[in-house]
Structure formats: C-alpha cells, structure tokens
C-alpha cells in the first residue's frame, strides 16, 4: 500500500507540473491566481499522503489543514486586490 501511495504522490507531482505552465505563462493575472490555487489544493492532498508514507498522520494532517486555510485566504485577498485592475 505504501508503494501505491508513493505512486499517487508522483502522479500528483506530474499534475502540479502540468498546471505550472498556465501559472507561469498565463495570459491574464487571474489565470496565474487560479494556477496557484490549483497547486495549493494538490499540495494539501500531497501533505496527507506524505503523512501516510512517513507514518506520522497526526502531524501532517494539521499541516494540511493550516495550509488549505492559508491558500483559501490568499486567493480571496488577491481576488479582492485585483478587482479594479485590468487583467
């Protein structure tokens, strides 16, 4: 089961690198924000998976919870900040 978790982590990393193309070369600012939020979602899942691989779930779940809250707050604040600018 641990090998399966490592394979799932590698697949998530490949998806993150696919998304980074849009986050770096995106045509508008909002594409970059959405790319950052997408990477944040994958990272929250990846933290829980790392907890299962290292057998320290009780620590990494708290990290994933805090990271998801920070990612959500960051997305909201950046969306409010760019509301009056040309994309």
């Amino acid at each position: 089961m641990e090998q399966f978790f490592i394979g799932a982590s590698v697949a998530l990393c490949i998806i993150i690198f696919l998304t980074l193309y849009r986050a770096v070369f995106g045509p508008t600012v909002f594409d970059r924000i959405v790319g950052a939020g997408f990477v944040g979602t994958k990272t929250a899942v990846l933290l829980v998976l790392i907890g299962f691989i290292y057998k320290r779930v009780d620590m990494f779940v708290d990290l994933a919870l805090v990271y998801s809250i920070l990612c959500f707050i960051g997305t909201l604040i950046v969306a409010k900040y760019f509301i009056r600018r040309k994309g």
Binding site: M1, F4, A8, A11, L12, I15, L18, T19, Y21, R22, T28, F30, D31, I33, V34, G35, G37, F38, T41, K42, A44, V45, V48, L49, F52, V57, D58, V61, D62, A64, L65, S68, I69, F72, T75, L76, A79, K80, F82, I83, R84, R85, K86, G87
Partner: protein
Amino acid sequence: MIAVLIIVIFLLVTGIFFFFAAAIGFLRLPDFYSRMHATGKGDTFGLLLFLLGLGIYNVLENPTWYLGVVQTVKILSIAVFWFLASPTATHALLRSAFESGAMPWTKDGKPIIERGEGGKKT
C-alpha cells in the same frame, strides 16, 4: 480487508483521474471563464474522493481512538472545508475578473454582453 483496500484504491485512482481532467481542461480551454469551469469542479470532486479514500484507509490501518478516529475526522474536515472554500474562491475570482473587464470567449468573436463605462453591465 482486501475489499476495503480495493475500494480505497478505486477512490484514489478516480481522484487522480478527476485531478488530471481538471489539469487538462485548465491547460486547453480557450478563455478564463471556461478554465475556471474546469478547475472549480474537477478540483473539488477529486479532493473529496482522495480524502475519503485516505480517511477509510486510516481507520482500517490504525483501529484506535486517537490515531484512527480523530485523525479521520480531521481528514474529512479538510474535505468539508474545501467544499465550502473552493466555490467561494471561484465566485470571488470570477466576479473580480468580470468587473475588471475580461470578456467571455465566443465562437465568432462577437461579445455576448454589452458593457458601459467602468466595466459595469448595462
């Protein structure tokens, strides 16, 4: 035991499929609004499937109170939080993009919404 493990593997593989579909849609769709359509749905559902599978696996692996049940409730609380947070972030970003003047893509290039001054809908 084996049946539950097969269910967990099925949930995780389906979650990876939804994440992958969201990433492909995010790379290939033509404008910002349709890209948000792809990511806002595939992301949320893939995360729910992934965390549901991991929670079931955690209860199966550690059948104690603190390491099993409490951590599973925490993992599921991450899923519940993203189900509240992801539509809120999507809505705020879409409203911000619309008010700053991004136009929806159409097939013939004509705008479907007339705009007045300052990006307001007329």
